[in-house]
């Protein structure tokens, strides 16, 4: 058995980029230290008392909630509130919601579930109609619902479980799509434009590689659903993920170097790169244009013949 570089226990993870081996305890210490440092460095919870945690029930969000709960458990001035968005994906989201519920109940964290069927359109319904790019719809609706939920619960920020791999994949995709403004908006701590109605999103797992999140979750017995979204196969993210993983295998440290490039770029983007935030003329939610992306996508889908009724908020 490979032995931990820091003690005599059996190793559960080898980090090719540092040439070190970690047992469960030392991997947990390192991961929690990284999350804590990221939160301090970017002031993610500074002057914020009600922190939302977006918990889908997958490995990243459950690990993030578990670590944030550990780091903030002695701080009585801060409250964690878990929010789950149910996109209406049968056989997938229902399983992960069970894990999210189990963890929140174990940690004693308040938990609220928001359903696409009430605010947008269930993904399974949507996919029967205009054959759109599922990830575009899902991402837009999810962000819209999360922001609404965060406001309804008076949250000061909402933590998103984007790990190192997610961040560098998004960075790479924004380069490939020639979207420099999206790079400017995708920051570790809430973007570069502010507005009262827009609850800042924070990314505490920014410096934790995906496989280390998974190893942490398995070692600490965190309940999570390890399934893949049924529509994930259609996403541009897949080939990008494969490419970056192959580069990481050949040249260890590639992901961290990409992260550093992205963070350096954000620092250098001019303040004018941010679009002002205004209100959508249809739903009054924050938007960078006259009509928000959610209302725009709903109108488009209706034009293509999709039929549904949306109970809350005008659609």
């Amino acid at each position: 058995m490979a032995i931990c570089s820091f003690c005599n226990r059996n190793a559960i993870l080898y980090q090719p980029y540092s040439c070190k081996l970690f047992c469960g305890k030392h991997l947990s210490d390192l991961t929690e230290k990284r999350v804590g440092s990221t939160m301090r460095k970017y002031g993610m919870v500074r002057n914020r008392s009600r922190i939302g945690v977006a918990v889908s029930g997958g490995k990243d969000s459950t690990t993030m909630l578990y670590i944030m709960h550990r780091l903030l458990r002695k701080d009585r001035s801060r409250t964690l509130i878990a929010i789950t968005v149910d996109e209406g994906l049968r056989g997938y989201r229902d399983k992960s919601i069970r894990c999210a519920r189990a963890l929140c109940s174990k940690l004693g964290v308040e938990h609220h579930i928001y359903r696409f069927s009430e605010y947008a359109v269930k993904m399974d319904t949507l996919m029967r109609h205009p054959k759109p790019d599922p990830c575009t719809y899902c991402g837009v609706f999810r962000r819209w619902v999360l922001n609404l939920a965060a406001r309804e619960h008076g949250l000061d920020a909402i933590a998103i479980g984007h790990n190192l791999d997610d961040v560098v994949q998004t960075f790479q995709m924004n380069i490939m799509r020639n979207e420099p403004l999206r790079i400017a908006r995708y920051t570790p701590n809430g973007g570069i434009a502010t507005c009262d109605e827009f609850v800042p999103r924070i990314r505490p797992l920014l410096t934790v590689p995906e496989r280390e999140v998974m190893a942490y979750a398995l070692h600490n017995g965190i309940p999570f659903h390890n399934g893949e979204c049924p529509y994930a196969g259609l996403a541009l993210r897949n080939p990008v993920r494969e490419f970056i993983n192959s580069m990481e295998a050949k040249y260890p440290g590639t992901k961290f170097r990409m992260l550093n490039t992205y963070l350096s770029l954000i620092d250098r983007l001019p303040a004018g790169a941010a679009q002002p935030i205004r209100k959508c003329k249809l739903c009054s939610e924050p938007s960078s244009s006259e009509t928000c992306k959610r209302c725009e996508l709903l109108s488009y889908a209706k034009c293509k013949g999709a039929k549904w009724s949306v109970a809350k908020k005008n659609a």
Binding site: M1, A2, N10, A11, I12, L13, Y14, L21, G24, S56, G57, G58, K59, D60, S61, T62, S96, G161, E210, R211, M214, A215, L218, H219, F224, H225, N226, G227, E228, C229, A232, R237, N238, R241, N245, S246, E248, A249
Partner: protein
């Protein structure tokens, strides 16, 4: 050697496979995208595997 990938048995000969890295490579996966348990314990890709071992390969799924 008994190999399970995401809980499903893998029906393929693993003769000649001596390490976790070799096993992952034989089934077209890499340590970037999988966590491996041998006889119930999480191991690294540097660890060895033998014919009597029970190996579980857990794919690191995207999202979540």
């Amino acid at each position: 050697m008994r190999v399970l990938v995401d809980g499903k048995p893998l029906r393929r000969s693993m003769r000649g496979v001596k390490t976790v890295a070799g096993l992952l490579s034989a089934i077209g996966m890499s340590s970037e995208t999988a966590i491996v348990k041998v006889n119930g314990r999480i191991v690294t890709e540097l660890d060895s595997v033998g014919p009597s071992d029970r190996v579980e390969v857990i794919r690191v799924s995207t999202g979540g």
